[in-house]
Symmetry: C2
Subunit: 751 residues, 2 copies
């Protein structure tokens, strides 16, 4: 017993080590993404900036555009060898995996690398997309990879990690990785944990909370320390970071506009989800039978559109004096609101060093950094360029800055419309892209717009409105609640805006839920993942388990012919990977034997005995755990035993008295566990002799799972659903009152 | 179907309304507690302050002491009629209830009122105890009460709430209430939600998170608005509130002392748990057969000790000039460290208005409020009195204040020791008391002590150390993790200290876990609640379900004699409240009849059919749902039916074809649901006729639960445990391969 306690402690300690490594690796990855993007962006704006100085606007655009195209198309091309699974945000895949769905390729190293490269390239391409969604997927892939460093590609299976080679631990590490991804991306450790719990995971435990918190903290910290060294604070820098002042606080009467922004966020969010779902459907139909290079072409076209629109917006916006922006609020708004977006072009010279904004990672807003000159003269700046000809992070920082008058109302109105449209059409392209930052940008622009309109009449601080707008818009499309609120609070480094944020999130979610479900639910549905929501579909609530189960269930006998096992494994008729094992009753006539000289049994008795999985069968085949003759099933119950007698039957691999079927010495618990992490060759290449196949048997009794939950056929559908959902089942054999197998339920049957 | 969807929506909407009401009520209660305590404390310090002015120290003490005694003893006397359940923090009861244990009296109105009154009195008694634990229990009782406004005492059962009259909804409302209690007490809505999830609940869902968040927000907000009107912010005021400045930030090298404080917190926490557990054991043995008034006497003695020690501490501390406290840090520390606690008494006059500190609920530390004069002259103050002769909230505010030199090192050393000892002996007294504030006080004093010692050598800010110390100490005794970290962050209104807080919490928990379990686990164990931890006990992990199940299981037939049902209900031999219902096989000989003229059956066949609960049986008896003759069990399977045929058997109350046993028209689903919320008279008082009892039958088939999970006797113990824990089962029938009932497992069998 002391050894087992020590083992348990070692295992737990190992989990902490793994979580630490997840944190560090995710942190480093977030840093890599951030740093590469910053480098590329700086290069891009520097190069095109050179020509801006000389007033060669078109050449500047061409440089800007061609760099965008270069990166965007590369980001798209990277996806082709890796597979479609690496495109998009990956959140549906993470949610699906954590719900218990095995999505092929979704968690392997190839996808990880492809997604990472595609993300860095795509995020530098000037498209309106964010790194958070892909970071979550990357985090979860890292979690899955570290948890069981093995690789189908490399064929490397280290022994020390065998004990984590099971579904539950893998799932936990993937949850942790996803949460660490959020934490590192936003610099929000608590928000990361809550995201993992609320949005990503379907199964969660208290131990997991604490370990995940640890990993999130390490991830945030790692990113920060590499970026800035030991001089800075935990929250000084995520991949994204805003420094809201906490001098100005809102008044309670402002809760009404905040609530209205919440309503708007919900409406726009629902609209976005709707548009996006339709667009995705159209896309998948349109590209269904066409060549994959058309999808690259699509990216090309979209980059062209995006770059053109964003550049032109900036180019056609008149310059504005810096003194205007610094003037007192009411005055400056009056004067500036007259400078409506007109078709002008009297811009000029002098920018370069303003692009240094992107270098300046420190949390403090330097006054100078707020202004992008674009073509404007010294002492002037282009307000639209601050949003459109700028990295998204920097644009967001501008929107959240406390200077009340950097932007005019028309600029904000135009940009919120443009960014909404561009975000909608960009999402779903064949490159790694996330939605958080773009939707935040849309929301912040819209919120600031509302704030500035209100500021025309009453003295308010538009930066709070920008924050509220960003929260509302994100809640509107993602329907996240508490995790979103916390992320926003952590971004603003203070709790003083919590109430407005929470209010808008709550209202946006309610309003959005009135129209449709979140974008992730739509994507999951569209990708046909058998995702189990926490509640069963209402339309089916009155059914029983017999209405949904597969009745054509493939069963195996406790001691089964090798030929039958191979036949079952090769067959593609059945769609379940767990096979109920049934007992054979005693022989009717001990003198009757079948063709192989074995006793014949009633074939209509199918008493349920246990469950065996496909990969267990393959493993048994591979190691040739065959027996020469079929031993008699010696279940004492069937030999007339007393049902009150105590049997010491235990789980697989332990000594057993039940049916007197000890495990074969060639197949121990350790070997089986290790084997399940391996990748076996197809059955045809296992060099099984024809003789073996035809005459030998496999004794499944020591290996089958005896502790499976079994449903009686009287079960209701909703009960079945809730068992699947709470325990995370994959197969549920259904038996009748005589314990005969009459069917099997898998996840897909529930939907 | 449309009706059912509407009903579902109405039910969900109802839940939101109930959560809103929980929030408002908990908020008001928190306000009441806060306000009454403030009033009483003010009265107390005002009265004794009068005599302090005249230098009549002993009379001042007598006044102070007698008020303390008055309230403390009343708080204890209140418990006597209500019962022991109302004393202590109530957190073990809440955890136990949410784990699925029915603890008698733990959630009823009498306990609620008793606890509330006792809390207000006890919190004003000068004892070192806090209101948070009892507020959690009060919140959960309010949650349970509002969720199903019914009362055994008042016999009032409103119809509109029937649909929430089930275990799951009640449990959810109680979780919400507990979380709202934390939120209102600390002014920390997010911390409240996380507390509910991490510490209080064993079952949690995503829907619950969001509704609980809502309730927490409402609770926090209600308390704030009543206290201060609409001028203030969400976080301006919990029952407890600190205003840490965010000007000074720590250096990374300070993480080392923070980690050491974490270690110390873990050690002291473990020591506290150990001492407390022993003391509680000693108490329960000592008072076991003695009169309950001895427990009141214990309270009396403890108040005497506490008041004397705290008063004397203040009285024997020399006065200190206010200018010293305001001087620059290093200088003042040098000068002040010489003024060691000496036996002096040259204190004098002038206090009164300083007690106004307690009135001053606003978040801003006024300079004047930091000083308690006690006997000192104008321009001087008594540093110890600020801690000991003050309300605990005010003392905490002082400890967290940024003024670096209010306290000298000896004062802090003495007070941290005294408060640790007093907290240890106070906890467990017969009055409503919590541990959060006292342990926070101990931790903050200790932390500030460490900070000031370090400040002798390096320039640091002791208030951060106080915060870290408080976090570490709370983590050390409660082993809370993420919820504690968030509560501390919410208290400090900023995330800038998150890293130190998290670090110390993490280390304190690890260190503490090395020695023992949390105080709540110890209390739960001591109170013998069958609490299921999230992991099964390691010592039993290799057992099977047959090793732990009760084999003497009481079963009922599908159609059972009334006499048998009554016999089963009256018997006290068996310890399970759910009875497996078994099928009778077809009659052996249709001509053989028993004494009542019914067919006789094999008695050794016990095929499992469903599960019926004790209160369902009582309800059936009460409404006399009897049938005259015993209908033949017409299960088609036993009549030779094909097991592939689809039967439309559903859950209770729905039309059924299974065995052709429709529900009796007198007992509908609605009536049953309503009835289960009622309190029935004992069976002897139901006026059942002897004739009915002897000749009539009850047909259980329409009412029994057909969707219960059933364990095969091959189940492993750990599998069984995890099913109980994840699904929240109470009864698990165990069957053999022929589906005959061979045993039953209840929660108590698992431990």
């Amino acid at each position: 017993r002391r050894t087992s306690k020590l083992n348990h402690m070692l295992k737990t300690f190992g989990k902490w080590i793994i979580c630490f490594m997840i944190g560090v690796l995710v942190g480093i990855t977030a840093y890599l993404v951030k740093q590469s993007v910053e480098f590329v962006n700086e290069f891009k704006f520097d190069q095109s900036g050179k020509y801006l100085e000389d007033e060669r606007k078109f050449i500047a655009f061409l440089v800007y555009y061609s760099i965008n195209i270069l990166f965007g198309v590369s980001a798209s091309l990277v996806i082709i060898p890796v597979g479609q699974i690496a495109s998009g945000s990956g959140i549906p895949e993470v949610k699906g995996y954590l719900n218990g769905i095995r999505i092929p390729q979704s968690m392997n190293v190839k996808t990880l690398v492809g997604k990472l490269v595609s993300l860095i390239l795509a995020y530098s391409s000037g498209l309106i997309l964010g790194p958070e969604g892909p970071m979550i997927h990357i985090g979860s892939m890292l979690g899955g990879a570290i948890g069981q460093v093995k690789s189908k590609t490399l064929k490397w299976y280290p022994k020390v990690l065998w004990k984590y080679h099971n579904d539950r631990d893998r799932r936990d590490f993937i949850s942790t990785g996803a949460a660490a991804g959020v934490a590192a991306a936003f610099g929000a450790p608590i928000g990361g944990v809550l995201f993992g719990f609320e949005e990503a995971s379907s199964f969660w435990s208290r131990q997991l909370t604490w370990r995940t918190f640890f990993a999130c903290l390490i991830a945030t910290f790692t990113t920060n320390i590499i970026l800035q060294g030991f001089d800075m604070q935990l929250h000084d820098y995520g991949v994204l970071k805003f420094g809201l002042s906490n001098k100005y606080l809102y008044k309670y009467s402002e809760l009404i506009p905040f609530a209205l922004i919440g309503v708007a966020g919900g409406l726009f969010g629902a609209l976005f989800v709707n548009l996006n779902a339709h667009l995705s459907q159209w896309r998948s139909k349109f590209f269904a039978n066409k060549k994959i290079y058309l999808r690259v072409l699509e990216v090309f076209i979209l980059i062209t559109i995006t770059s053109t629109i964003l550049y032109c917006c900036a180019a056609f916006t008149p310059c504005r004096s810096k003194t205007q922006a610094n003037g007192s609020q009411t005055n400056s708004l009056d004067t500036s609101s007259s400078s409506i977006l007109s078709s002008s072009g009297d811009n000029s010279k002098n920018s370069t060093k303003l692009f240094k904004l992107l270098n300046n990672a420190s949390g403090e807003d330097k006054q100078e950094d707020k202004f992008i000159a674009f073509f404007c003269e010294q002492g002037e700046y282009n307000q639209m360029a601050g949003l459109s000809f700028n990295s998204l992070d920097a644009a967001l920082r501008l929107l959240f800055s406390t200077s009340t008058d950097i932007f005019t109302i028309p600029t904000l109105a135009v940009f919120s419309l443009i960014s909404f449209i561009l975000t909608t059409i960009t999402s779903g392209l064949m490159l790694a892209s996330g939605l958080f930052i773009p939707m935040m940008l849309v929301g912040a622009t819209f919120g600031r717009l509302v704030g500035q309109v209100i500021a025309l009449f009453v003295s308010v601080d538009p930066c709070i409105y920008a924050l509220v707008g960003a929260s509302a818009m994100m809640a509107g499309f993602s329907r996240m609640t508490i995790s979103l609120a916390i992320i926003m609070v952590e971004l603003t480094e203070g709790t003083q805006y919590m109430l407005p944020v929470i209010l808008s999130v709550m209202i946006a979610k309610w309003v959005g839920d009135f129209f449709n479900e979140s974008i992730y639910e739509h994507l999951i549905e569209q990708k046909c993942y058998p995702f189990l929501q926490s509640q069963p579909p209402k339309s089916m609530i009155k059914l029983g388990v017999v209405d949904i189960m597969k009745t054509e269930v493939v069963t195996l006998h406790e001691v089964e012919r090798v030929s039958k096992v191979i036949e079952v494994l090769k067959s593609e008729q059945h769609f379940h990977n767990g096979f109920p094992v049934i007992e054979r009753p005693r022989p009717l006539d001990p003198n009757r034997k079948d063709a192989y000289g074995n006793l014949e049994y009633y074939e209509d008795e199918t008493t349920y005995s246990g469950l065996i999985l496909r990969n267990q069968l393959i493993c048994l085949l591979y190691y040739r755990i065959f027996c020469h003759e079929q031993p008699l099933p010696q279940n004492p119950r069937l030999l007339g035993g007393n049902s009150n007698r105590r049997y010491n039957q235990r789980r697989f691999g332990r000594p057993t008295e039940y049916g007197y079927a000890p495990a074969d010495p060639r197949m121990t618990y350790e070997l089986m566990t290790q084997s399940l992490a391996r990748h076996f060759p197809p059955i045809d290449k296992m060099n099984l002799k024809k003789e073996e196949i035809e005459t030998m048997y496999i004794d499944l009794r020591p290996y089958m799972n005896l502790s499976t939950i079994v449903a009686n056929e009287t079960y209701s559908y909703s009960e079945t659903y809730s068992i699947f959902r709470t325990i995370g089942l994959r197969h549920l054999p259904v038996v009748n009152k005589k314990n005969e197998v009459v069917g099997i339920v898998t996840r897909k049957d529930l939907l």
